[in-house]
């Protein structure tokens, strides 16, 4: 059984937002909402200013707080670890939106909850998510954590620093941030 995950090398990310655009195009995300966005954090001062571009999206947590609160089972976790929403069952009660500590979910204008699926439809075809394929800096890596030869396993083992957001909540996100130049919002309280 695969355990899909993603990693983003924040040292490589230049904040071009190609991933965000690719996500919108691939998934027909309507205007006004986003499955993926980029947090830009500036710190320090002249002559040593620093900036960090941090793409954020659903983290497909190992222990997703959004799943048990769903009253209809519309939100569920696949055996591969993807956290998905079945629109036909969703009543848009907002329980999962509120339960997500990463604010990764939203109510789609068509009346159901939506969020990043890690491009599950592409994974099913053996392809990588659109954001990974698009990233011109090669900052995004996707793969199976169970496979030691997968790109993500190699990236995690070679990174100088690996973070997840809000680790104290015990959600065990499956999107890892590598080599974060700033520590703001990682490993502790949010900025």
């Amino acid at each position: 059984m695969a355990r899909y995950a993603m990693a983003i090398d924040l040292e490589a990310c230049v904040g071009c937002a190609a991933c965000a655009v690719a996500c919108v195009v691939e998934n027909q995300v309507p205007p006004g909402v986003n499955r993926l966005w980029i947090r830009v954090t500036e710190a320090g001062s002249f002559p040593n200013p620093e900036v960090e571009f941090r793409p954020e999206q659903c983290y497909h947590c190992e222990n997703p707080p959004c799943v048990p609160v769903c009253p209809t089972g519309a939100t569920f976790q696949t055996r591969d670890g993807l956290v998905l929403v079945e629109p036909k069952k969703c009543i848009a009660c907002g329980a999962c939106v509120v339960a997500c500590p990463y604010d990764a979910r939203f109510i789609h204008p068509d009346g159901y909850v939506d969020k990043c699926t890690l491009c599950a439809h592409r994974i099913a075809e053996g392809r990588v998510p659109a954001c990974v394929e698009t990233c011109p800096a090669g900052a995004r890596v996707f793969g199976d954590l169970e496979d030691e030869q997968s790109p993500i396993a190699k990236a995690l083992s070679s990174a100088r620093r690996v973070d997840v957001r809000k680790p104290h909540l015990g959600t065990e996100p499956r999107l890892f941030y590598l080599n974060a130049p700033l520590k703001v919002g990682l490993g502790g309280e949010e900025a």
Binding site: V69, P71, T72, A99, Y112, K115
Partner: protein, 256 residues
């Protein structure tokens, strides 16, 4: 400095109608509980209370439907095709539906009261309790800590007791003062619980206090005063109703 390309999507999910729901669900659950008590004691007002409770449940269900972005997709049927005990909304949906059926059955004297009254007690407790469960199960919303499991049921009961005291002079006057006092004490203990929590919980309380501390304190004091006004039932009822509604609205609104 932090800025964004694209907007983090969530923001406020629950709006004004959600606050109306939190009012109505407390009124419905509390009224059904009191109606079950009145029916158990054989009080004359029991039938009217049962019918009003059914109406409150219907109103609450209507508000829930109205506030839903999926109201014309009719996916709500899925709520009753499954029961998911870990989901507060699933429990609440079943609790509200059962309470509606039981109050109507008892009011119309259909079915054995010896069985239906205990069932109504149980379903009304579920209706009173599930809003607190709904809030407490969100790890990323520190204002909604585990204390909501106590605060929401007791303020719901105080809300309904206040309503009945204010508008119908209440068939259960001796119950009111301890309920109001308990709600007032719970309102004061809630910030104490947050103050002894983690940094996020302390910051959440500080935020609420800064933006609406006076309103929160007023609500808590109104509940305590209602519990002490034994000889002024209408005033006590009004204070309890107002205090409970204000308190629940503040907690829900600022918790997001």
């Amino acid at each position: 400095m932090t800025s964004f390309y694209g907007i983090p999507p969530s923001g406020e999910v629950w709006h004004g109608l959600t606050l109306v729901h939190f009012f109505l669900v407390g009124l419905a659950g509390g009224s059904a509980f009191l109606a079950a008590l009145a029916r158990h004691r054989g009080e004359g007002a029991a039938r009217a209370m049962l019918l009003w409770s059914a109406l409150f449940v219907l109103l609450d269900l209507a508000v829930l439907w109205l506030e839903s972005a999926a109201r014309f997709r009719f996916t709500h049927v899925w709520l009753f095709l499954t029961l998911r005990p870990a989901s507060a909304i699933s429990l609440g949906a079943w609790g509200l539906a059962l309470t509606l059926l039981l109050t109507l059955a008892l009011a119309l004297e259909k079915g054995p009261a010896r069985l239906l009254v205990p069932l109504l007690f149980a379903s009304s407790v579920v209706v009173l309790a599930y809003p607190g469960m709904l809030l407490a199960e969100n790890p990323g919303r520190p204002l909604w800590d585990g204390f909501q499991l106590a605060l929401m049921p007791i303020t719901g009961l105080a809300l309904a007791t206040g309503f009945w005291l204010l508008f119908v002079r209440g068939p259960l006057p001796r119950l009111a003062p301890p309920v109001f006092l308990a709600a007032g004490v719970a309102a004061l203990l809630a910030p104490w619980s947050l103050a002894h929590g983690d940094a996020g919980e302390r910051a959440a309380w500080a935020g609420l206090w800064q933006d609406a501390g006076l309103f929160y304190l007023s609500a808590a004091l109104a509940l305590l005063a209602a519990g002490l006004l034994r000889n002024r039932p209408e005033l006590a009822g009004g204070l309890a109703l107002l205090g409970s509604v204000l308190l629940r609205s503040l907690v829900v609104h600022f918790g997001q």
